[in-house]
């Protein structure tokens, strides 16, 4: 008896409710953009400059007392949050203390760190400081630009690759799906004020890669079916291709999600934001490869004359094993 996540033969019409699915994507995009501009992103120190100190103690965290201890130092905006994680021991109480940048260029001075640590020790003598990270505003400004460039570069590189391997309509469809995925993921980070830092950018780029992975598999089948069924309507070819690859899509997304959820639950709080972005991105990436990328392809139409399969566009790799 086999585990079948998807029946062998499916014949679902993925475009029957096109206005609804596209409308849903559009709505999510709008919400994301609004959340981004109204609420803004909760930037970590990588992008904003400043210092985070991780504290750990056997005694319970008293955020108010911590704040009272630090505020006399006059360090400006201080935020203190307690961290919870299933992997912590019972007597392991962790908090993150964040202090805004103190200087226009440099990271924090050793004296300031010492002052903060001393102040917290008066509240809780058992407190330790497993990590102290500080980024000067000069670097954080550059990191923001590098991050934006890398996401744009990834999208551009992918656009060119797909254009070379398929047709431009495929490239536009794939990139629409990518922009959709990245924008909505950023929107979720804004909406729930999840900390957005360098590793989130890494997650976004991985989403770009993954979302594409999915889209390309569907497109590859579309290209094949377009050659095979020369007179079938484009909508039917797309539906057929998505149905044929459905069991693979669900299977791959399923195993990847399985691995990521294990990491999300058990991987510790340090990388939780990173893994969350990736998990969310894979769900939305799978959705978008069908409902955004293929929908765009349907709207844009595609050249049906594949009489010269090895022309400039759409070269296929020769199978070395054949």
């Amino acid at each position: 008896m086999r585990l079948k996540l998807v029946p062998d033969e499916t014949n679902w019409d993925f475009f029957a409710r096109l206005p609804i699915t596209l409308g849903f994507s559009g709505l999510m995009l709008v919400v994301s953009v609004v959340a981004f501009f109204v609420m803004g992103l909760n930037f970590g120190i990588d992008f904003r400059g400043g210092t985070t100190i991780r504290t750990e103690s056997t005694q319970a965290v008293d955020v108010g007392a911590y704040r009272d201890a630090i505020s006399p130092l006059g360090l400006g905006d201080v935020s203190i949050t307690e961290v919870f994680d299933p992997s912590f021991r019972d007597d392991q109480h962790v908090a993150m203390v964040r202090i805004e940048a103190q200087n226009e260029e440099e990271s924090i001075t050793p004296e300031t760190v010492q002052q903060i640590e001393d102040a917290l020790k008066t509240v809780d003598p058992a407190i330790t400081f497993p990590s102290v990270e500080s980024v000067g505003p000069k670097v954080s400004g550059e990191l923001v630009m590098t991050a934006i460039y890398s996401v744009l570069a990834a999208i551009a590189a992918v656009l060119v690759y797909i254009w070379l391997r398929f047709e431009w309509q495929f490239a536009v469809g794939a990139v629409a799906a990518l922009v959709h995925d990245v924008a909505i993921t950023i929107g979720v980070f804004a909406l729930f004020q999840i900390r957005f830092d360098l590793s989130t950018i890494a997650a976004l780029l991985t989403i770009v890669g993954y979302s594409l992975n999915d889209t390309v598999v569907v497109f590859d089948r579309v290209r094949e079916n377009l050659r095979r069924y020369k007179v079938m309507k484009l909508k039917e070819v797309l539906n057929l291709s998505i149905n044929e690859t459905m069991s693979r899509t669900v299977m791959t997304s399923g195993t990847t999600l399985l691995a990521l959820i294990a990491l999300l639950v058990l991987g510790g709080d340090v990388i939780r934001g990173f893994v969350f972005a990736m998990t969310f991105g894979i769900i939305i990436g799978t959705y978008s490869s069908v409902f955004v990328a293929s929908a765009f392809l349907l709207k844009l139409g595609v050249k049906r004359d594949w009489s010269k399969p090895d022309g400039e566009a759409g070269t296929q790799f020769a199978d070395v094993d054949a």
């Binding site: 260029e105 760190v113 360098l198 999915d214 991987g267």
Partner: protein
């Protein structure tokens, strides 16, 4: 009949075995690390019985390279420093001034009296008494220039000399500034390396980043503050003539003079000539020692030119005080009792033994050529790293087990074969990471977990194709062959696009993000290899033994 040529079988099996052999040391991390540390220690300091014992913890003929653990996993200190290269321009101008002065003095008839006037940092401005003598003055100063010796700066001189009215302005040329920047960074790198090595930690990373930045990562060091203290001290030692001694910090020093506080006498300040007689750069050696009263001190020795300058100065100024200045503080200002010709001397101050030892280390390593500002610093405690490794391990095992079960449940025997390939695949990722000496970071572990999830993708693509071909009524052998053939273009396109993003991450990213990019990229390479070649080989070998009439995928 499925065809799989013998030579290809040998290559595939050979590569897998090679990967696993390279991965093997990581299973015995602690033991191999002891072995490697002992090997380094023996090479550096010679063998002892204890080191030999440590060395034999791991057989020498086996590969012993390990996956480096990143700072976030091992704990340690990270600093990003920016070198103020402009400092050096100012030093160069100061050093040029005596030459310019002497050269212009020889032309006194034409230019009249000369005087150095205040100028922006990095420039030297000289006023001459007779503006009519400007052409002669310019020619004289230009004669001091020497050609720049770099590939790009061919044909240009190291200094630019301009005259306006009665003022001559000298500054470094653009080509020379570039060359100087480069030298400054190289020197800083070298000095930081020497200082960090003196502390003797394992595998520090000290590398240039961009034009004028230096990244320093030292695993196992307590905090970034310690690291800062170690490398942030410029240890700029100079010997300056003393003009006066005062208790008033508001004293205005004269032209080309500076006022520095005393290190051990509170409230005492010294007004000094700004141009030093000799600098710490001309030291050849410095050792901690004790003075005649048994207090900690530092002995030093000048090189030949330093010794000559020091000897001449002390001979001319017997009875006058001179100051020993370290990083803008006067350590001591002894009176010159007699000429000191040998070029060696002793620095006494209010040192503890530890301070005198550190000072000697800093002086020996040399002064940083320019000041550094710290743009980024991170300290990660070893316990946090250990917790992260533990959490990462558990998560990876759970993820791995989950994926294995789903594969067998979905594809039966074929899923089993894919699982074997998956296990080999993870082994090969570690083998590659060790072989290229890559660094594993926490996001890197996430990269591996992600690879586990995605590695099955290629197999899934193939298996689903085989299923389709079977449903279309093809025989087992033909279905398998067609399955691989038809899935290939999807596998390649899908993985190349992910690979592109991994490469971009690698180029643009830094630190942990880079670590993620490396594992992701290597994971893609090995998983495609595993799916296309290894799983296929396993299926072919099974098929040849069993020759099933029909198969179920």
């Amino acid at each position: 009949m499925l065809h799989y040529p013998l030579w290809r079988r040998i290559i595939v099996i050979g590569l897998v075995v090679l990967g696993l052999v390279y991965a093997a040391p990581n299973l015995f991390y602690g033991r191999v690390e002891t072995h490697n540390d002992a090997a380094t220690a023996i090479e550096k300091f010679g063998a002892t019985a204890e080191r030999e014992a440590d060395l034999s913890a791991w057989p020498g003929w086996l590969p012993s390279s390990l996956v480096n653990l990143g700072l976030d996993l091992r704990g340690g200190a990270h600093l990003l420093a920016e070198v103020k290269v402009e400092d050096v321009y100012a030093h160069r101008m100061d050093a040029l001034w005596p030459e310019v002065r002497d050269a212009l003095r020889d032309e006194r008839d034409a230019v009249g009296a000369i005087r150095r006037i205040d100028a922006p940092e990095g420039q030297l401005k000289v006023r001459i008494e007779t503006p009519a003598g400007m052409p002669v003055a310019l020619e004289t100063v230009r004669a001091l220039a020497s050609p720049v010796v770099t590939l790009t700066g061919v044909g240009s001189n190291d200094i630019e000399v301009a005259g306006e009215g009665d003022t001559i302005t000298v500054q470094l040329s653009d080509a020379e500034q570039l060359a100087t920047d480069d030298r400054t960074i190289q020197q800083s790198l070298e000095i930081i390396r020497r200082r960090v090595d003196e502390v003797g930690t394992r595998e520090p990373v000290i590398q240039r980043q961009g034009e004028r930045r230096i990244l320093i990562q030292v695993p196992g060091l307590g905090s970034a503050e310690e690291l800062k203290a170690l490398i942030g001290t410029t240890a700029q030692l100079t010997f300056n003539p003393v003009v006066s001694r005062t208790g008033d910090p508001g004293t205005r020093p004269g032209a080309r003079q500076v006022i520095y506080p005393s290190m051990d006498e509170e409230g005492i300040y010294y007004v000094l000539e700004e141009t030093p007689v000799v600098t710490g750069e001309e030291l050849t050696n410095a050792q901690p020692s004790f003075d005649q009263n048994g207090r900690p001190a530092v002995n030093f020795q000048f090189n030949v030119s330093g010794a000559r300058k020091f000897g001449e100065y002390t001979a001319e100024n017997v009875g006058a005080p001179f100051a020993i200045v370290l990083d803008g503080e006067v350590i001591s200002a002894p009176r010159i009792n007699e000429p000191i010709p040998g070029g060696s001397g002793i620095i006494t101050g209010n040192f503890t033994v530890e301070e005198s030892t550190n000072l000697a280390v800093l002086l020996r390593a040399g002064a940083l050529p320019a000041e550094m500002t710290f743009l980024e610093e991170r300290t990660i405690g070893p316990e946090l790293g250990a917790d992260s490794i533990e959490a990462g391990k558990i998560a990876s095992i759970v993820a791995f087990a989950g994926v294995l079960i789903v594969m067998v449940a979905s594809y039966g025997w074929f899923g089993m074969l894919a699982n074997v390939a998956l296990v080999l695949n993870v082994g090969m990722v570690f083998g590659l990471l060790s072989a290229i000496g890559a660094t594993l970071t926490l996001p890197g572990i996430a990269g591996i977990v992600l690879t586990i999830g995605m590695a099955v993708d290629a197999n899934v693509l193939v298996f689903e194709r085989i299923r389709e071909e079977l449903r279309a009524g093809r025989g087992p052998a033909r279905a398998i062959e067609l399955g691989y053939e038809k899935a290939l273009s999807a596998i390649i396109d899908a993985n190349i696009t992910t690979f592109i993003t991994a490469v971009i991450l690698f180029i643009m990213g830094s630190g942990p993000v880079k670590g993620f990019a490396v594992t992701l990229a290597l994971g893609i390479l090995t998983s495609v290899f595993a799916a296309i070649y290894v799983t296929r080989l396993l299926i072919v070998m099974w098929f040849e033994r069993r020759r099933p009439k029909q198969i179920e995928v």
